[in-house]
Symmetry: C2
Subunit: 145 residues, 2 copies
């Protein structure tokens, strides 16, 4: 198995709310939008975030029929500074996001916040001075103190 | 907010089982391994998968104290052919993964399977003839039929 993820797919109870948040609110461009079924955004080099209507998500996995909610996962975006964390969190809040953890110093030595989208998907917005990405995509992480 | 995800972080009840599956079982190289706390793998260009000990994950989000499990999310890896889907699923099964959906034709026109890791994280392994990635990382997706 290759060491690679190509899609992150999230069960999404309210696709219209997701579209309003990411596209209208944050200005993201959908890669593909199939109303009532799935909404795709490119969120990295070769990386797609899929917001999949929750009951269809459940059916695809052969689930028990109770549409799942997303839990136990955060998606993170790293900012260039603590100030950019603050600005990003304000933008997400203005777009309808719920601030779960206000911007503050983080245990890993940086500064971060958590914001939930309208479907409860939690994003961490972080300034992490120990993280960097080289031109070829290689990530460098300093050990956690 | 930039249209980008840098980390995927998953609440992980059994870090040792995760390490055994991804590193020993599948041959992945950890980017950083902090036993008892967090295990990082690079899974794309600038993209990190973090397996975060579940109670620490919960505490980081200021949760209610019941360690969360991952639900409502799948991570996908696209294979070059249906045969590569079969081989990958066999490899994951041999490493201790649980086959949730055996390889089969998919609603999107390709061929796929779902396999859960030892902590219940579901991976979709898919051959999707409508998906491609250009050299600059741009993803092309054909509309869902």
């Amino acid at each position: 198995m290759h060491q690679r993820a190509d899609f992150i797919t999230l069960a999404t109870a309210d696709l219209d709310a997701a579209r309003a948040f990411y596209a209208a609110g944050l200005g993201w461009s959908p890669l593909l939008d199939v109303p009532g079924e799935i909404l795709f955004f490119q969120v990295g080099h070769g990386l797609v975030l899929g917001l999949f209507e929750a009951s269809a998500f459940d059916a695809d996995l052969g689930g028990p029929g109770s549409p799942p909610a997303v839990s136990g996962v955060t998606l993170s975006q790293n900012a260039a500074s603590a100030a950019e964390v603050d600005v990003t969190v304000e933008r997400m809040h203005a777009a309808g996001g719920v601030v779960v953890k206000p911007p503050q110093n983080a245990a890993f030595g940086g500064y971060h916040a958590h914001v939930a989208d309208p479907n409860g998907v939690v994003w961490e917005i972080a300034f992490n001075p120990g993280w960097s990405v080289e031109a070829d995509g290689t990530v460098r992480l300093q050990p956690v103190e």
